[in-house]
Amino acid sequence: MSHELLDALAKMGFWLALLLQVTPIMLWVERRAPAMMQDRLGPNRVGPFGFFQAIADVGKFVFKEDFEPATANRGLYLLAPMLALVPCMTTYLVLPFGPELEVAGRTILSVVIDSDSGVFVFLALASLGVYSLVLAGWASNNKWSMMGAIRASAQMISYELALTLAVVAALVPAGSLNLQRVVEQQMDDRLLGFLPAWGVFVQPLGFLVFLVAMFAETNRLPFDLPEAESELVAGYHTEYGSMRMAFFFMGEYMNMAVLSALAATLYFGGWSLPGLDLTQYSGIVPGLLGMGILWAKIGLFLFLYVWVRWTFPRFRYDQLMRLGWKILLPLSIVNLVVVAVLVISGRI
């Protein structure tokens, strides 16, 4: 095997080791954090601070009977949960997590695929997620699943537009689709002499659009209409149980994590921290530190997801579509034009 392939495998293992922790930790956070917000205890008996509750959940999922409804479309029914895992377990490949590393006389890039079409690859793979929901809804042969899937697909493609246009605007200052260039541009510049040139300060409107679209893309409250239990039972995963249902959860949580990583990379300087020069360290230390900084930012976003969930009530479906098409889409175009004008006239 060539060096490049081994490097890629090592970096993928590094990412996956962290990414797979997201689901159990978030299962725990989603119980304890709302308990804190509502002035109650939450599960605190299993292990320290109730942390092993997540392990008990996994055990429960494993030992549940995995049945298939008699009228389901078998092949697609089995395929859909797998497809829920695929987009979030591939998109991290183009996310940079540190500066160039010098290990044993070789230069190693701190990104699995150093591509000049990086963001394009990310969005192309991330948009595969909609297939999982549509196939799950169609193959279950249940009206609740079907309605949930139709809602989900319409919601995801609508907010994908706002998301895509916000991402285009975020790339304009760096002038590259390579996310490593985007991070370097945010790291090198200063705004007004003291602010880091993070995307969130350059284009706050773009960040706001991205943030709202990000919540809608991951089907999280207040945009969880596809699985609104008060009207649709459980939406597209009504007919799923045991491990297959857990796949939809895992997909959702890991998707939240990778989209948070993209948000951190585009708007919050990615793996860099103002005032800290990672290149002063040798070996793989800059990569480890960069990964730590990136995941600290991801963690803040993940907590924001939980916080928002227990703060805002659910939208009605027509309000949701109105917000996506009539407010976010025009705003994202306005943001794009403003940023483009600022860049061409040399202000950024």
Partner: protein
């Protein structure tokens, strides 16, 4: 060079392998009992009342068509980003004409009500507001 994208295939294989292993564990560990009623379609505890694959509101179709138009627009904007700084105003205005044309279409769709999800207000029971 296409081999730079080889990790995508690897990651896909890892994702499917992980899924397969977890499903296999669950398949071995879980107890299975039969039952015709259990395998029937879920209808909130009642016998099945309705078909699952019925007609849908035309609004979803219109949303999908609108999406295709705008997604193609967004795809054209990505290469524009990379040349914007060197290209300057001529490049900027060239794409603004294109965006303007799309926006005229968007305004038309908006005015015609193509972005509305609730289309059959007339059929609502009296006393319920939209």
């Amino acid at each position: 060079m296409p081999q730079a994208y080889l990790p995508i295939l690897l990651a896909l294989a890892v994702a499917f392998a992980l899924g397969g292993v977890l499903l296999a564990v669950s398949w071995v560990a879980a107890k299975r009992t039969g039952g015709r009623v259990k395998l029937s379609t879920y209808e909130s505890g009642l016998p099945l009342l309705d078909r699952s694959r019925k007609r849908l509101s035309i609004a979803f179709f219109l949303i999908a068509i609108d999406f295709v138009v705008f997604d193609v627009e967004a795809a054209f904007l990505y290469p524009w980003v990379t040349v914007l700084r060197e290209g300057g105003w001529p490049i900027f205005w060239a794409v603004m004409v294109f965006v303007g044309l799309i926006l005229i279409g968007f305004a038309y769709v908006w005015k015609k009500g193509g972005l509305e999800i609730v289309t059959r207000v007339a059929n609502r029971p009296r006393g319920l507001s939209a």
